[in-house]
């Protein structure tokens, strides 16, 4: 029994247990925290798979950003605790659709496993690829270099599209959640009475010649 197996067992135990808590917990905050544990466990898996870049990205983005957003949303939605669900204790007949979700989920899972067939269940399964297909200038940079190189060459277009997507999501989220701001309508200037102007020889009430001179001096002074 090597350390890999131990690590794997620990991660798996944590991940599966927390995943079950996520979907079965009556309390939404508990569910959120357990989700965080799952996300960290997955980062651990990535490390086991020697994909260090992804592990770090996983922690930074998923745990750091997405979980934060989720918790913010939970807090800001200002709802009473979720109603009607008592999780595992209430049995599988509560919540929605009775036993169908379980059936469907188990069915899908089973079928996928069956579908893995020759890959997963054979006597000679796939072997772990020790060496990465290194390119000349990325030796020693591990998966980070590899991914970086790939993103800026073969996958450049999807990369740009993804940035557009993030921009759209950013703008969308802000627009959606902005509180209505009351806009004060500025008063329009009064219409000019031309007959009065003709009679009195004075223009419409506005900044007089003197004011303008003051403003100029003020700005000139400010500059100097």
């Amino acid at each position: 029994m090597s350390w890999a197996w131990v690590g794997f067992a620990v991660l798996t135990g944590a991940a599966v247990f927390s995943a079950l808590r996520v979907v079965l917990s009556p309390s939404i905050t508990h569910a959120a925290l357990h989700l965080a544990i799952v996300l960290v466990a997955v980062a651990g898996y990535f490390l086991l798979l020697q994909s260090e870049f992804l592990a770090v990205v996983q922690v930074l983005v998923y745990v750091g950003a997405v979980m934060t957003v989720i918790i913010f949303a939970i807090m800001l939605s200002d709802l009473p605790l979720i109603r009607g669900g008592a999780g595992l204790r209430a049995g599988l007949g509560s919540e929605r659709f009775g036993w169908l979700p379980l059936l469907v989920a188990c069915g899908v899972g089973a079928l996928v496993l069956v579908g893995y067939g020759s890959v997963v269940w054979t006597a000679a399964p796939l072997a772990f690829q020790e060496s990465l297909p290194m390119l000349a200038d990325t030796t020693g940079q591990g998966t980070t270099g590899l991914i970086g190189r790939a993103l800026f060459t073969s996958y450049l277009v999807p990369f740009e599209v993804a940035s557009l997507l993030l921009l759209a999501a950013l703008v969308g989220a802000i627009v959606l959640t902005r509180r209505e701001v009351a806009v004060r309508v500025r008063e329009l200037p009064k219409p000019v009475d031309l007959r009065a102007v003709a009679r009195t020889g004075r223009g419409p009430a506005g900044p007089k010649a003197g004011d303008e001179a003051d403003a100029e001096r003020a700005s000139a002074g400010g500059e100097a």
């Binding site: 929605r96 659709f97 169908l100 979700p101 469907v104 989920a105 069915g107 899908v108 079928l111 996928v112 069956v114 579908g115 067939g117 020759s118 269940w121 054979t122």
Partner: protein, 618 residues
């Protein structure tokens, strides 16, 4: 001149154009424009006839339509038949048009009348001279149109309009047959040219020839008012009398006979078709004559007489008496036109009265009309030496040779013919005047009407001589097909026909001239069933109505089928789509998780299907 024969139809058509466009400006002179053109046309036709008599022939054609691979031409063929026909048609039309100047004087639509008469004459001449089916059919249809327009000349009276519609529709039935017959000929011969069709008809399969012949005959039955499509002709008397004289006696109705003659080789190629023609002709002749005996209206009597005489012509054609039938066609044109114009004269004198029972004793007032009418009547009855005798005799002799029973039918009809025309003459011109008012105001016709009567009477009297044995049977020789023999002069047959005709005339004269009305009334009572049968025209109108009823029932069924089955099918599809839509609507719950569940289920099914399709398993 023969190669310019195409001028003959063009002149009346040109007149039609002038009269239509400038009739209003020309006023009364419009009629004379038409008459001038027609006179020129007549002159040309006579010149052509003179040349053809000397053996000339002509065929001219121009390309007309090019459809796909086939080219259709417009052309003229002049042989003995055509030359004789155009001479007769132009001449009789000229007489009728001159007569009409007097008869239609004062009519509100004077110019329209003449324009359409000229259109008609042009169309008829096109039919005669056409060298292919397409051109003939075009002229045929225009004739039908002109007939319709002229019958309904006084269309303000709805009855006239209906009569015109009836004539058009009934002839249309025949025209459909003709059209399909043309298609069959085209299929069989690959062209519509008469020259080719006539030459090749002998080599067609007998079934094809019979089919084509019968279909063409259908068109002739319609146009020439043979049984059972004869019902329109008596109704067509609603038109002005000159129209009846020209179209429904001398020319258009003769077009059917002409058509059969023109396509005779096709009929000859099929044995049965000619037999059908003969039987139809004979039966028509007999039936129509019987109905003519009980008519009160002078024009209707003449209408039935026309139907009967056309039956004779068909009979002649059917028993291989080609030349005889055509000879009768020509002589009939003259004396029937004469009779109609004479009756028009009487009607004109009687200020529109047409019921013979209200006439009587008009001979003293209308001597010229009466005399010419009697000449025509004797010609009709077939009393020698008048024209009708020679031509009818020829037909009957041919029948005697080929189909004996048809001869007896024809001979009986001759007797009945004599009877009804004598009746007509006596009722109209002799005896005591039955309507004093009518009698007082009756006067002879003006010269413009009288001259044509006289001219036609001359022809009715003497034309027959041209075909008589003593003068070498010129007409038949001229018209006969090559190889056609003249019928043997069975004197006993000829004698029996003369005897029967004379007996008929005498009987009619006695019964209506000498006998008292009580005797006639007594006879009617005794022979009541026969009388009713004749008066009801052998119930043909009822048959026609019944047929219409059948047609309506059939169309009612078709309509029901269309509404219920066809529409029902379409509606059912729509309804089913609606049902599907309503069912599918249940899926659109608006609940996102339900959609997710459905999708997950679909994925499940998809996976299962994928995996079940033979993916390798460990």
């Amino acid at each position: 001149m023969v190669s310019y024969a195409y001028v003959v139809p063009l002149l009346p058509l040109f007149a039609f154009g002038l009269q239509s466009l400038f009739g209003r400006a020309l006023g009364r002179a419009t009629a004379w424009v038409g008459i001038a053109c027609l006179a020129a046309s007549t002159a040309v036709s006579l010149a052509v006839l003179a040349e053809v008599l000397r053996g000339a022939e002509a065929a001219v054609s121009w390309p007309w339509l090019s459809l796909g691979g086939a080219t259709f031409s417009m052309g003229v063929r002049v042989g003995p038949l055509e030359a004789a026909m155009i001479a007769m048609v132009t001449f009789v039309s000229l007489m009728v048009e001159v007569y009409s100047v007097g008869y239609m004087a004062g009519d509100a639509k004077f110019n329209r009348f003449f324009a359409i008469v000229n259109l008609f004459v042009g169309a008829m001449l096109v039919v005669v001279l056409a060298d292919n089916f397409l051109l003939l059919f075009a002229g045929w249809e225009i004739m039908g149109l002109a007939s319709y327009l002229l019958i309904g000349h006084w269309y303000h009276d709805l009855a006239n309009a209906r009569a015109a519609t009836k004539s058009f529709l009934v002839t249309r039935l025949g025209d459909i047959g003709l059209l399909i017959g043309i298609f069959v000929c085209y299929q069989a011969a690959g062209t519509l040219d008469f020259a080719v069709i006539d030459a090749g008809a002998a080599s067609w399969a007998p079934g094809v020839a019979t089919l084509a012949a019968l279909l063409i005959f259908a068109g002739a039955v319609g146009k020439s008012a043979q049984v059972p499509l004869h019902v329109w002709l008596p109704d067509a008397m609603a038109g002005p009398t000159p129209v009846s004289a020209l179209i429904h006696a001398a020319t258009m109705v003769a077009a059917g006979v002409f058509l059969v003659a023109r396509t005779y080789p096709v009929f000859e190629a099929s044995g049965t078709a000619l037999a059908v023609v003969a039987v139809v002709g004979g039966v028509t002749a007999f039936l129509a004559a019987t109905v003519g005996t009980v008519q009160a209206d002078i024009k209707k009597m003449l209408a039935y007489s026309t139907i009967s005489q056309l039956g004779y012509m068909m009979l002649g054609l059917g028993v291989f008496g080609y030349a005889a039938a055509l000879f009768h066609l020509l002589s009939h044109a003259f004396f029937k036109a004469l009779l109609f114009l004479g009756s028009g004269s009487v009607i004109h004198a009687a200020r529109g009265e047409q019921d013979m029972h209200r006439m009587g004793g008009l001979f003293r007032k209308l001597p010229l009309t009466g005399l010419t009418f009697i000449v025509g009547g004797l010609a009709l009855a077939g009393i020698p030496p008048f024209a009708g005798y020679f031509s009818k005799d020829e037909v009957l002799l041919t029948a005697w040779e080929n189909e004996r029973w048809l001869f007896w039918l024809g001979a009986a009809t001759a007797g009945i013919t004599g009877f009804y025309i004598a009746r007509g003459i006596y009722l109209t011109f002799f005896g005591r005047p039955r309507d004093a008012e009518l009698y007082t105001h009756a006067h002879e016709s003006p010269p413009v009407m009288a001259v044509p009567l006289v001219v036609l009477a001359v022809f009715a009297a003497f034309f027959g001589w041209l075909g008589s044995a003593s003068l070498g049977r010129l007409v038949q020789a001229f018209l006969a097909l090559p190889g056609e023999a003249e019928p043997e002069a069975a004197w006993y047959a000829a004698a029996s026909t003369i005897a029967l005709a004379a007996a008929g005339v005498v009987a009619g004269g006695l019964l209506y001239g000498a006998a008292r009305p009580e005797l006639r009334a007594h006879l009617v009572r005794v022979l009541r069933p026969v009388y009713v049968l004749f008066r009801e025209k052998w119930y043909f109108d009822h048959l026609a109505l019944g047929a219409t009823g059948l047609g309506l029932a059939a169309s009612a069924f078709v309509g029901w089928f269309d509404r219920t089955v066809v529409d029902g099918l379409v509606n059912a599809v729509a309804w089913f789509t609606g049902v599907l839509g309503q069912a599918s609507r249940r899926l659109a719950v608006g609940d996102a998780q339900a959609y997710m569940l459905t999708m997950a289920g679909a994925v499940l099914v998809g996976l299962a299907a994928l995996l079940g399709l033979g993916v390798s398993r460990p």
